[in-house]
Point group: C2
Protein backbone atom coordinates (compact mmCIF):
# COMPACT_ATOMS: atom_id res chain seq x y z
CA UNK A 1 0.00 0.00 0.00
CA UNK A 2 2.79 2.45 -0.82
CA UNK A 3 1.63 5.90 -1.80
CA UNK A 4 2.87 7.56 -4.96
CA UNK A 5 5.73 9.97 -4.32
CA UNK A 6 3.72 12.72 -6.01
CA UNK A 7 1.09 12.54 -3.26
CA UNK A 8 1.84 15.35 -0.93
CA UNK A 9 -0.80 17.12 1.07
CA UNK A 10 -3.81 14.89 0.31
CA UNK A 11 -4.41 11.23 1.03
CA UNK A 12 -5.64 9.22 -1.98
CA UNK A 13 -9.17 7.85 -2.09
CA UNK A 14 -9.51 4.06 -2.46
CA UNK A 15 -12.53 1.88 -3.14
CA UNK A 16 -13.55 -1.36 -4.82
CA UNK A 17 -15.54 -1.38 -8.08
CA UNK A 18 -19.02 -2.70 -7.23
CA UNK A 19 -20.89 -5.22 -9.43
CA UNK A 20 -23.86 -2.84 -9.80
CA UNK A 21 -21.57 -0.31 -11.52
CA UNK A 22 -20.67 -2.71 -14.35
CA UNK A 23 -21.79 -3.07 -17.90
CA UNK A 24 -22.61 -6.47 -19.40
CA UNK A 25 -18.87 -7.10 -19.92
CA UNK A 26 -18.20 -6.74 -16.17
CA UNK A 27 -16.28 -3.53 -16.76
CA UNK A 28 -16.92 -0.31 -14.89
CA UNK A 29 -19.63 1.59 -16.80
CA UNK A 30 -18.70 5.10 -17.97
CA UNK A 31 -21.12 6.96 -15.69
CA UNK A 32 -19.86 5.17 -12.59
CA UNK A 33 -16.29 6.36 -12.99
CA UNK A 34 -17.81 9.68 -11.97
CA UNK A 35 -19.46 8.14 -8.90
CA UNK A 36 -15.96 7.11 -7.77
CA UNK A 37 -14.48 10.52 -8.65
CA UNK A 38 -17.33 12.15 -6.72
CA UNK A 39 -16.40 10.04 -3.69
CA UNK A 40 -12.80 11.24 -4.18
CA UNK A 41 -14.08 14.83 -4.05
CA UNK A 42 -15.91 13.98 -0.80
CA UNK A 43 -12.65 12.50 0.56
CA UNK A 44 -10.79 15.68 -0.40
CA UNK A 45 -13.48 17.79 1.32
CA UNK A 46 -12.97 15.76 4.50
CA UNK A 47 -9.31 16.86 4.42
CA UNK A 48 -9.98 20.62 4.13
CA UNK A 49 -12.53 20.90 6.93
CA UNK A 50 -15.63 20.30 4.79
CA UNK A 51 -16.54 16.89 6.20
CA UNK A 52 -20.15 16.49 7.40
CA UNK A 53 -19.38 18.11 10.77
CA UNK A 54 -17.57 21.04 9.12
CA UNK A 55 -20.39 21.59 6.64
CA UNK A 56 -22.96 21.51 9.44
CA UNK A 57 -20.98 23.89 11.65
CA UNK A 58 -20.21 26.44 8.92
CA UNK A 59 -23.24 25.95 6.67
CA UNK A 60 -20.79 26.07 3.76
CA UNK A 61 -20.10 23.38 1.19
CA UNK A 62 -18.80 22.90 -2.37
CA UNK A 63 -20.80 22.56 -5.57
CA UNK A 64 -19.45 21.11 -8.81
CA UNK A 65 -19.81 23.71 -11.57
CA UNK A 66 -18.14 21.90 -14.44
CA UNK A 67 -16.03 18.82 -15.11
CA UNK A 68 -14.09 17.02 -17.82
CA UNK A 69 -13.54 13.27 -17.88
CA UNK A 70 -11.08 11.21 -19.92
CA UNK A 71 -11.46 7.42 -20.18
CA UNK A 72 -8.08 5.76 -20.71
CA UNK A 73 -8.40 2.08 -19.69
CA UNK A 74 -11.17 -0.33 -18.76
CA UNK A 75 -11.53 -1.32 -15.12
CA UNK A 76 -12.97 -4.64 -13.93
CA UNK A 77 -15.56 -5.28 -11.25
CA UNK A 78 -13.84 -6.15 -7.97
CA UNK A 79 -10.72 -4.12 -8.74
CA UNK A 80 -9.57 -1.70 -6.06
CA UNK A 81 -9.04 1.72 -7.55
CA UNK A 82 -7.05 4.59 -6.14
CA UNK A 83 -7.74 8.26 -6.91
CA UNK A 84 -5.04 10.85 -6.36
CA UNK A 85 -6.11 14.49 -6.26
CA UNK A 86 -4.12 17.55 -7.23
CA UNK A 87 -5.08 21.16 -6.62
CA UNK A 88 -4.47 23.11 -9.83
CA UNK A 89 -5.65 26.52 -8.70
CA UNK A 90 -7.98 28.43 -6.43
CA UNK A 91 -9.22 31.88 -5.57
CA UNK A 92 -11.53 33.16 -2.82
CA UNK A 93 -14.54 31.19 -4.11
CA UNK A 94 -13.24 28.57 -6.55
CA UNK A 95 -11.16 25.40 -6.33
CA UNK A 96 -9.80 23.79 -9.51
CA UNK A 97 -8.91 20.14 -8.90
CA UNK A 98 -7.68 17.17 -10.90
CA UNK A 99 -8.36 13.52 -10.03
CA UNK A 100 -6.32 10.67 -11.52
CA UNK A 101 -7.60 7.10 -11.14
CA UNK A 102 -5.29 4.07 -10.98
CA UNK A 103 -5.88 0.38 -10.30
CA UNK A 104 -4.42 -0.76 -6.96
CA UNK A 105 -0.96 0.73 -6.52
CA UNK A 106 -0.42 1.06 -10.27
CA UNK A 107 1.15 4.10 -11.87
CA UNK A 108 -0.68 4.07 -15.23
CA UNK A 109 -3.81 6.26 -15.16
CA UNK A 110 -7.08 4.52 -16.11
CA UNK A 111 -9.13 7.75 -16.10
CA UNK A 112 -8.79 11.42 -15.23
CA UNK A 113 -11.35 13.96 -14.04
CA UNK A 114 -10.82 17.72 -13.90
CA UNK A 115 -13.35 19.62 -11.79
CA UNK A 116 -14.19 23.23 -10.98
CA UNK A 117 -15.67 23.44 -7.50
CA UNK A 118 -17.50 26.49 -6.14
CA UNK A 119 -17.62 27.49 -2.49
CA UNK A 120 -21.26 27.79 -1.43
CA UNK A 121 -23.07 29.40 1.46
CA UNK A 122 -25.89 26.90 1.87
CA UNK A 123 -28.25 29.48 3.38
CA UNK A 124 -28.77 30.78 -0.18
CA UNK A 125 -27.52 28.59 -1.55
CA UNK A 126 -25.18 31.08 -3.19
CA UNK A 127 -21.54 31.23 -4.20
CA UNK A 128 -19.58 32.69 -1.28
CA UNK A 129 -15.95 32.93 -0.15
CA UNK A 130 -14.32 29.96 1.57
CA UNK A 131 -14.41 30.14 5.37
CA UNK A 132 -10.98 31.15 6.75
CA UNK A 133 -10.06 27.68 8.10
CA UNK A 134 -11.00 26.03 4.80
CA UNK A 135 -9.08 28.62 2.78
CA UNK A 136 -6.02 28.09 4.98
CA UNK A 137 -6.18 24.33 4.39
CA UNK A 138 -6.61 24.84 0.63
CA UNK A 139 -3.65 27.23 0.50
CA UNK A 140 -1.38 24.83 2.37
CA UNK A 141 -2.15 21.96 -0.01
CA UNK A 142 -2.05 24.21 -3.09
CA UNK A 143 1.44 25.43 -2.14
CA UNK A 144 2.66 21.81 -2.03
CA UNK A 145 0.88 20.88 -5.27
CA UNK A 146 2.37 23.87 -7.11
CA UNK A 147 5.59 21.80 -7.30
CA UNK A 148 3.87 18.93 -9.16
CA UNK A 149 3.85 18.59 -12.95
CA UNK A 150 0.62 19.70 -14.65
CA UNK A 151 -1.50 16.71 -15.78
CA UNK A 152 -1.46 15.85 -19.49
CA UNK A 153 -5.27 16.03 -19.69
CA UNK A 154 -5.59 19.43 -17.95
CA UNK A 155 -7.63 22.10 -19.76
CA UNK A 156 -8.76 19.85 -22.62
CA UNK A 157 -11.65 20.77 -24.90
CA UNK A 158 -13.58 18.20 -26.94
CA UNK A 159 -13.49 18.72 -30.66
CA UNK A 160 -13.07 16.96 -33.92
CA UNK A 161 -10.68 18.51 -36.41
CA UNK A 162 -11.51 17.99 -40.09
CA UNK A 163 -10.47 14.48 -41.07
CA UNK A 164 -7.13 14.31 -42.85
CA UNK A 165 -6.13 11.95 -45.63
CA UNK B 1 -45.61 16.30 -24.09
CA UNK B 2 -44.74 18.57 -27.00
CA UNK B 3 -41.24 18.14 -28.35
CA UNK B 4 -38.91 21.09 -28.77
CA UNK B 5 -38.91 22.39 -32.34
CA UNK B 6 -35.13 21.95 -32.43
CA UNK B 7 -35.48 18.20 -32.04
CA UNK B 8 -35.17 16.80 -35.51
CA UNK B 9 -33.83 13.38 -36.21
CA UNK B 10 -33.60 11.98 -32.65
CA UNK B 11 -36.26 11.39 -30.04
CA UNK B 12 -35.46 12.87 -26.60
CA UNK B 13 -34.71 10.63 -23.64
CA UNK B 14 -37.00 10.99 -20.61
CA UNK B 15 -36.74 9.55 -17.12
CA UNK B 16 -37.62 10.35 -13.50
CA UNK B 17 -34.92 11.27 -10.95
CA UNK B 18 -34.69 8.38 -8.49
CA UNK B 19 -34.39 8.86 -4.70
CA UNK B 20 -31.16 6.83 -4.59
CA UNK B 21 -29.50 9.42 -6.88
CA UNK B 22 -30.04 12.28 -4.43
CA UNK B 23 -27.82 14.06 -1.97
CA UNK B 24 -28.98 14.87 1.56
CA UNK B 25 -30.88 17.90 0.19
CA UNK B 26 -32.98 15.66 -2.11
CA UNK B 27 -31.32 17.13 -5.18
CA UNK B 28 -29.81 15.04 -7.95
CA UNK B 29 -26.19 14.34 -6.97
CA UNK B 30 -23.54 15.49 -9.43
CA UNK B 31 -22.36 12.01 -10.45
CA UNK B 32 -25.90 10.86 -11.24
CA UNK B 33 -26.50 13.53 -13.85
CA UNK B 34 -24.03 11.44 -15.85
CA UNK B 35 -26.02 8.26 -15.21
CA UNK B 36 -28.98 9.98 -16.88
CA UNK B 37 -26.81 11.32 -19.73
CA UNK B 38 -25.41 7.81 -20.19
CA UNK B 39 -28.97 6.51 -20.54
CA UNK B 40 -29.53 9.25 -23.15
CA UNK B 41 -26.50 7.94 -25.06
CA UNK B 42 -28.02 4.43 -24.90
CA UNK B 43 -31.29 5.86 -26.22
CA UNK B 44 -29.41 7.56 -29.08
CA UNK B 45 -27.65 4.26 -29.87
CA UNK B 46 -31.03 2.54 -30.11
CA UNK B 47 -31.91 5.04 -32.86
CA UNK B 48 -28.82 4.44 -35.04
CA UNK B 49 -28.96 0.64 -35.11
CA UNK B 50 -26.79 0.06 -32.03
CA UNK B 51 -29.52 -1.25 -29.75
CA UNK B 52 -28.78 -4.58 -28.01
CA UNK B 53 -29.83 -6.59 -31.08
CA UNK B 54 -27.73 -4.44 -33.41
CA UNK B 55 -24.68 -4.69 -31.16
CA UNK B 56 -25.08 -8.45 -30.94
CA UNK B 57 -25.54 -8.87 -34.69
CA UNK B 58 -22.62 -6.63 -35.71
CA UNK B 59 -20.33 -7.10 -32.71
CA UNK B 60 -19.79 -3.35 -32.82
CA UNK B 61 -20.59 -0.77 -30.16
CA UNK B 62 -19.59 2.69 -28.95
CA UNK B 63 -17.14 3.60 -26.19
CA UNK B 64 -17.02 6.98 -24.47
CA UNK B 65 -13.55 8.44 -24.90
CA UNK B 66 -14.01 11.81 -23.25
CA UNK B 67 -16.76 14.04 -21.92
CA UNK B 68 -17.44 17.49 -20.50
CA UNK B 69 -20.28 18.27 -18.12
CA UNK B 70 -21.74 21.63 -17.08
CA UNK B 71 -24.06 21.91 -14.08
CA UNK B 72 -26.51 24.78 -14.51
CA UNK B 73 -29.47 24.18 -12.16
CA UNK B 74 -30.37 21.82 -9.35
CA UNK B 75 -32.90 19.06 -10.06
CA UNK B 76 -35.19 17.53 -7.45
CA UNK B 77 -35.90 13.88 -6.77
CA UNK B 78 -39.08 12.83 -8.53
CA UNK B 79 -38.70 15.36 -11.34
CA UNK B 80 -39.02 14.04 -14.88
CA UNK B 81 -36.05 15.14 -16.94
CA UNK B 82 -35.75 15.27 -20.71
CA UNK B 83 -32.45 14.99 -22.58
CA UNK B 84 -32.18 16.25 -26.15
CA UNK B 85 -29.21 15.08 -28.18
CA UNK B 86 -27.47 16.88 -31.02
CA UNK B 87 -24.83 15.44 -33.33
CA UNK B 88 -22.00 17.98 -33.62
CA UNK B 89 -19.69 16.02 -35.88
CA UNK B 90 -18.52 12.60 -37.00
CA UNK B 91 -16.00 10.80 -39.14
CA UNK B 92 -15.54 7.12 -40.00
CA UNK B 93 -14.83 6.13 -36.38
CA UNK B 94 -15.93 9.01 -34.15
CA UNK B 95 -19.22 10.61 -33.15
CA UNK B 96 -19.24 13.97 -31.34
CA UNK B 97 -22.53 14.49 -29.51
CA UNK B 98 -24.09 17.04 -27.19
CA UNK B 99 -26.78 16.29 -24.59
CA UNK B 100 -28.92 19.02 -23.03
CA UNK B 101 -31.01 18.19 -19.95
CA UNK B 102 -34.28 19.98 -19.14
CA UNK B 103 -36.97 19.43 -16.50
CA UNK B 104 -40.25 18.19 -17.96
CA UNK B 105 -41.05 20.14 -21.11
CA UNK B 106 -39.02 23.15 -19.97
CA UNK B 107 -36.77 25.10 -22.27
CA UNK B 108 -34.10 26.22 -19.77
CA UNK B 109 -31.17 23.77 -19.64
CA UNK B 110 -30.33 22.33 -16.21
CA UNK B 111 -27.15 20.59 -17.38
CA UNK B 112 -25.22 19.86 -20.56
CA UNK B 113 -22.89 17.01 -21.50
CA UNK B 114 -20.60 16.94 -24.52
CA UNK B 115 -19.26 13.48 -25.43
CA UNK B 116 -16.80 12.00 -27.88
CA UNK B 117 -17.86 8.46 -28.77
CA UNK B 118 -15.63 5.94 -30.54
CA UNK B 119 -16.87 3.17 -32.82
CA UNK B 120 -15.54 -0.15 -31.49
CA UNK B 121 -15.16 -3.61 -32.94
CA UNK B 122 -15.83 -5.64 -29.81
CA UNK B 123 -13.75 -8.59 -31.00
CA UNK B 124 -10.66 -6.54 -30.05
CA UNK B 125 -12.01 -4.50 -28.57
CA UNK B 126 -10.47 -1.94 -30.90
CA UNK B 127 -11.50 1.31 -32.55
CA UNK B 128 -12.98 0.47 -35.97
CA UNK B 129 -15.12 2.16 -38.62
CA UNK B 130 -18.88 2.35 -38.16
CA UNK B 131 -20.79 -0.42 -39.92
CA UNK B 132 -22.45 0.91 -43.13
CA UNK B 133 -26.01 0.89 -41.77
CA UNK B 134 -24.93 2.74 -38.63
CA UNK B 135 -22.91 5.29 -40.62
CA UNK B 136 -25.91 5.91 -42.89
CA UNK B 137 -28.12 6.55 -39.86
CA UNK B 138 -25.52 8.88 -38.33
CA UNK B 139 -25.15 10.83 -41.59
CA UNK B 140 -28.89 11.28 -41.95
CA UNK B 141 -29.25 12.72 -38.43
CA UNK B 142 -26.05 14.76 -38.72
CA UNK B 143 -27.33 16.41 -41.90
CA UNK B 144 -30.47 17.52 -40.05
CA UNK B 145 -28.54 18.67 -36.99
CA UNK B 146 -26.13 20.73 -39.10
CA UNK B 147 -28.97 23.29 -39.31
CA UNK B 148 -29.16 23.70 -35.51
CA UNK B 149 -27.31 26.41 -33.57
CA UNK B 150 -24.12 25.25 -31.83
CA UNK B 151 -24.61 24.86 -28.05
CA UNK B 152 -23.19 27.60 -25.82
CA UNK B 153 -21.19 25.06 -23.77
CA UNK B 154 -19.62 23.31 -26.79
CA UNK B 155 -15.83 22.92 -26.76
CA UNK B 156 -15.30 24.36 -23.29
CA UNK B 157 -12.08 23.87 -21.35
CA UNK B 158 -11.88 24.22 -17.56
CA UNK B 159 -9.51 26.85 -16.32
CA UNK B 160 -9.16 29.65 -13.89
CA UNK B 161 -7.85 32.94 -15.22
CA UNK B 162 -5.90 35.08 -12.74
CA UNK B 163 -8.36 36.79 -10.44
CA UNK B 164 -9.12 40.39 -11.40
CA UNK B 165 -9.76 43.28 -9.04
Amino acid sequence: MSSSPSRIGLRPHREVVRPEWADYNKHLNDAFYLVIFSHATDHMMDQIGLDAAGRERSNHSLFTAELHLNYLKEVKVGAEVRVETTFLGHDAKRLHIFHTMYVGDGTEPVATNEQMQLSMDMTGPRVAPFQPDVLAAVEKIAAEHAKLPRPAQMGRAIGMPPKKG
